[in-house]
C-alpha cells in the first residue's frame, strides 16, 4: 500500500533531531499529509541526530530501536545526575558515562560494525534530553515500530556495553578543579568535544569480536574478560555464568548460575547478552563456566557437552 513520507524536526540550541517515516496514505477527505502528526508514522522509521560543538556538527543516525535506546539511556542517566548519584548506564545500542562532573561520553552503535563517541557538555546533554523528551511524547508508537530483522538473533552484534573497554559504572566527582587556582582535570576527559568512529574489531580485544582462529577460545575469553571485569569494592562472592560462544568466538549468551550473578549482571561485561542460548546450539559452539570474582578475579572452565 503506498504511503506518505513524514518528517519532523526537533530543535534546541546545540541539538537537532529529525525523525522520518511512512504513514498510510490518508483518505483524500482527510486533507494533506502535512496535517498528520508524528504518531501517524508506522514503518520505515529512521532518525538523525545532529550535535553542534562549536564550529563542527556531529551527526548520528539510527532506527526506532536506536532512538528508543537513546531516549531510555539519556533519561535514566539524567535522572541519576539529578538524584545526586551520577552513574554510567547503557541499553542495547547506546551507553553514556560521566567523564567528570560536567562532561559525559555518549557511545552509540552506528550500523553493525561501527561505534561513535561524542563527548557532551552539560548544556548539550540538556538540549539532547529536551529533544528526546519531546519526541518520546510525540511518538508513543516508537516501541512497536518494526525494525527489519536481517540476521538471526544470536548473530546480532553484541550490545554496546560489550564493546566498551573500561567501567561503565564510573561515578564522577566535581574534583578539586573548583578551587580558585587551576588544577589538573581528569586526564580521561577531553578538552574539546570529539567523535571517534572505530570498528570494534580494530579496537583491541573486546567481547564479541572475532578471535584469531589459532587462539584457544577459553584463553581468549578469559583474557578478554580479565581486561574488562572491574569488580565493585562491595563484592564479596563470585558471580558465576554459563557462557555460550559460537565457533568464531562471538558471545551468544550468558546465563547466571547463582542468584547474585543474576542480581549484579548489569555490572559485568556480559550485561547485554541474552540469558538463553540457542537450542540446539549452533555447530561448533562451546559453553564455559565463567566466574567473575572480587578483586577483578576471572576464572573460566570449559563445560563438556553431555
Amino acid at each position: 500500500m503506498p504511503g506518505v513520507t513524514l518528517s519532523y524536526t526537533y530543535q534546541q540550541p546545540t541539538s537537532t533531531l529529525t525523525v522520518r517515516g511512512e504513514a498510510p496514505s490518508p483518505p483524500e477527505s482527510a486533507g494533506t499529509s502535512s496535517a498528520l502528526p508524528p504518531r501517524a508514522i508506522q514503518r520505515n522509521f529512521a532518525c538523525q541526530l545532529e550535535i553542534r560543538q562549536g564550529e563542527t556538527t556531529k551527526t548520528l543516525q539510527g532506527d526506532s530501536t536506536w532512538l528508543k535506546d537513546l531516549i531510555t539511556v539519556i533519561d535514566r542517566y539524567v535522572g541519576s545526575q539529578l538524584r545526586g548519584t551520577p552513574k554510567g548506564t547503557f541499553s542495547g545500542t547506546v551507553a553514556i558515562r560521566p567523564l567528570d562532573f560536567i562532561f559525559h561520553r555518549l557511545t552509540v552503535r552506528q550500523g553493525e560494525n561501527q561505534i561513535a563517541q561524542v563527548d557532551l557538555s552539560m548544556t548539550q546533554l540538556y538540549d539532547l534530553l529536551e529533544n528526546l523528551s519531546q519526541v518520546a511524547d510525540d511518538l508513543p508508537q516508537l516501541g512497536s515500530l518494526a525494525t527489519p530483522v536481517t540476521r538471526a538473533w544470536y548473530r546480532q552484534p553484541a550490545g554496546i556495553a560489550a564493546l566498551l573497554v573500561g567501567g561503565i559504572a564510573l561515578v564522577a566527582g566535581v574534583g578539586l578543579w573548583a578551587s580558585r587556582t587551576p588544577e589538573d582535570r581528569d586526564p580521561t576527559a577531553s578538552n574539546s568535544a570529539q567523535e571517534q568512529l572505530t570498528a570494534p574489531e580494530q579496537s583491541g580485544k573486546t567481547v564479541g569480536s572475532p578471535p584469531s582462529l589459532a587462539e584457544d577460545p577459553l584463553l581468549r575469553l578469559r583474557d578478554t574478560l580479565a581486561e574488562q571485569w572491574q569488580s565493585s569494592p562491595d563484592l564479596q562472592e563470585s558471580l558465576v555464568y554459563r557462557v555460550t560462544v559460537d565457533e568464531t568466538g562471538s558471545l551468544l549468551a550468558a546465563e547466571p548460575e547463582n542468584e547474585l550473578a543474576r542480581e549484579r549482571r548489569a555490572e559485568t561485561p556480559l550485561a547485554n547478552l541474552p540469558e538463553v542460548a540457542p537450542d540446539p546450539l549452533p555447530t561448533g559452539a562451546k559453553q564455559f563456566r565463567v566466574s567473575l570474582g572480587p578483586e577483578n578475579r576471572v576464572e573460566v572452565t570449559q563445560i563438556e557437552p553431555l
Partner: protein, 213 residues
Amino acid sequence: MTVEPKQTQLDPQPAGLTTATGTIKAQLDLLLLGLESLSGESSEAVLAAAKALNLEKQIGDRVVLWRLRNANPLRRSSGGRKKVDIEEARALVMVIAHLAAQQQARIRSTLEQLEAAVEQELSPFRQPLVGDYLDEFISHYRSRMVDGDVRDENSLAELALRILIELMFYSSPRGAQRLWKALLNRPEMDLPAGSDEEGEVAHSSGSDALPSP
C-alpha cells in the same frame, strides 16, 4: 522572559509519605538559595511565582515561606515548626521550576561559562557570572547553614555548582516533574541529628529571616 503560568500535574508521592523528609526540605531550600544567588531576588520573587501559579494557599505570605525554608534541617535556626506537608513541598517544586524557567537564560549563560572554564582548566571563580554566583551562594550558605562555618570553600563551591546544574534541568517545561521525581528518589543526605523535631521558639539570620509583623 515571560513565562506563562501552567498547571503541571506531578506524579503522586509514595503511599504513606504525608510530610517532606529532611532531604527533601534541605534540597528545596538549597535550590531556592541557588536561584537567589543567581538573581539577587529573594522572597518577593517566590511569593510572586506562588501567586502566578495559584499556590497562595500553600505559600501565601513571607511568614509561611520563612517557615518552609527554615524547615531545612541544615538551617541555623532552632525551633519553629519543622514539618512541611507534602502539598507544601509540591508547591515549592512548582515555584522552583517556574523561577528556574524565568531565569533560564541566566542559568544557561552561567553554566556555559563554567563549561568553558573546565575545558580551559581555569578556575570557575575567575569567570564573571560563575564567580558572582559562587560568591553569593557561599556567602548565603555560610551565614545561614549550621555547617557553614566548618565546610571549606571547595566543598561549598561543589555544592553550588551541582545546584546550578540541577537548576538548568529544572528550567525546562518538564522541570517540575523532573524535580519532583528526583526528590522522591534521592538518597537521604547526612543531616544534623534531631533536626526534624518540632519546636516553639524560632530565630534566624540572613535575608529571609522572619519579617517583623
